[in-house]
Symmetry: C2
Subunit: 254 residues, 2 copies
């Protein structure tokens, strides 16, 4: 008899942004697999076991969790944000796809969560208020020329672009080059939002025009949102600017 496998999203890191559904799944499971800092967000009981791994070991973690669930344990795989957005749900599906038959029999439940770009957008206005895309800038799992082609087409399509995994110690130059690619397509005034740790005590949100966007402003915990030519800035006295993309398309650049 197989156990249950939950894949939960803990949201952006602010406990008030985690859903009750995720909390309920966490209460049921007894073994927790995840990247250490995400597991640190949980308040586990003495009978709940924690198996932390590095954030680049997603597929190994998925294998380990599936093996335990197939053996009858009630297992929880813990993601930050939403588990379906550049996170563990795809890794677990991939493991099931390529793994033994018994992994397909595991009772799988995925609970959605607030993904980083939504939390960043909420703090600054509504930059994702119209058509947009979300892309991972990591070239660990896809060739860099696929990434630059996608960036160019997305910008030509007039989509706002949310970038996940914009930069890391092992990938220091990619975000700067992405800005270069986008400057060839988009006006220099298009707003770029650097949204770090939205909703957490160490939150830091900055907005600057694409023409001056500095990749050094981003780190691993940053979601970068690049506006479209339609995206607008509202100045407010004594309050931070609001950035939003109107619901209607006028064809005007600002």
């Amino acid at each position: 008899m197989t156990g249950k496998l939950f894949i939960v999203g803990t949201g952006p890191g602010n406990p008030a942004q985690m859903t009750p559904e995720a909390e309920d799944a966490i209460a049921v499971a007894t073994e927790f697999f995840g990247y250490g800092p995400y597991l640190d967000r949980l308040h586990l009981r003495a009978d709940q076991r924690r198996i932390a791994s590095d954030n680049r070991e997603e597929l190994d973690r998925a294998h380990a969790a599936l093996a335990r669930a197939a053996a009858g344990a009630d297992v929880c795989v813990v993601s930050g944000g939403d588990p379906g957005i550049f996170a563990m749900a795809a890794a677990v599906c991939e493991a099931i796809d390529k793994g033994p038959q018994e992994w397909r029999e595991v009772d799988l439940t995925i609970t959605p969560g607030v993904t980083a770009m939504l939390a960043v957008a909420a703090r600054i206005g509504a930059p994702l208020g119209h058509d947009f895309c979300a892309m991972s800038l990591s070239d660990n799992l896809k060739p860099w020329d696929v990434i630059t082609r996608r960036l160019r087409l997305a910008a030509e399509a007039g989509l706002v672009i949310a970038l996940y995994n914009p930069i890391s110690k092992a990938r220091p130059w990619q975000l700067g080059e992405a800005f270069e690619v986008l400057r060839q397509v988009l006006p220099a005034q298009v707003p770029v939002i650097f949204g770090r740790a939205a909703g957490r005590p160490d939150e830091r949100i900055a907005v600057m025009p694409l023409g001056e966007a500095d990749a050094g402003r981003a780190d691993m915990a940053t979601c970068v949102i690049i506006g479209s030519p339609e995206t607008r800035i509202i100045a407010r006295e004594g309050k931070h600017d609001l950035v939003y993309t109107p619901r209607s398309f006028t064809g005007e650049s600002h």
Copy 2:
């Protein structure tokens, strides 16, 4: 002295998928503006006033809410899903942008939520597991040729495509034509997910290949997700298929 203006996302409609942060905002406000069915999700106290309006009256609703907040009331604008994704946050920002100076002084807080595509994705696997875009198919606020151009570029870019507002009584043919446009770019086997009311008692999720995708399967409460050539289906005995988009790009179509 101005009041507070909260814009909250109630999530896809399952109360367990609404964040505590949204609940807290709802507890503070005394006047609630929103589309009737979204307001119906709240359990308001006797001292909390409900001002329902039609779902096409977003800008009027934003004006009314801002006017009340500027007059000192604690106001809550209620969205389904996430307020920043094809919902009220952009309408309120637009109203502030074009409205009187005093609206800029309103104390504005936006709480993010689980948007429909995340809830649908979680129920079926991880179709949004890699680069994707979200587009509104409504041609009320942008020209249809802008929409078809965006669809074509997004498909050429290899992005999974989540469609909001796919169909309505006033817009009966657009989704069928969108499928036609996408069939010119994408392989016929690409999976299309019709995700209706994910997480609610009347949930209905169907998957079919793009070549056979029937727009009649969608209604106003449906989020349609069109896979990329990389998106895969996992058959499971006695369980629904899983649909996922791998984290890595191989360049293979299936």
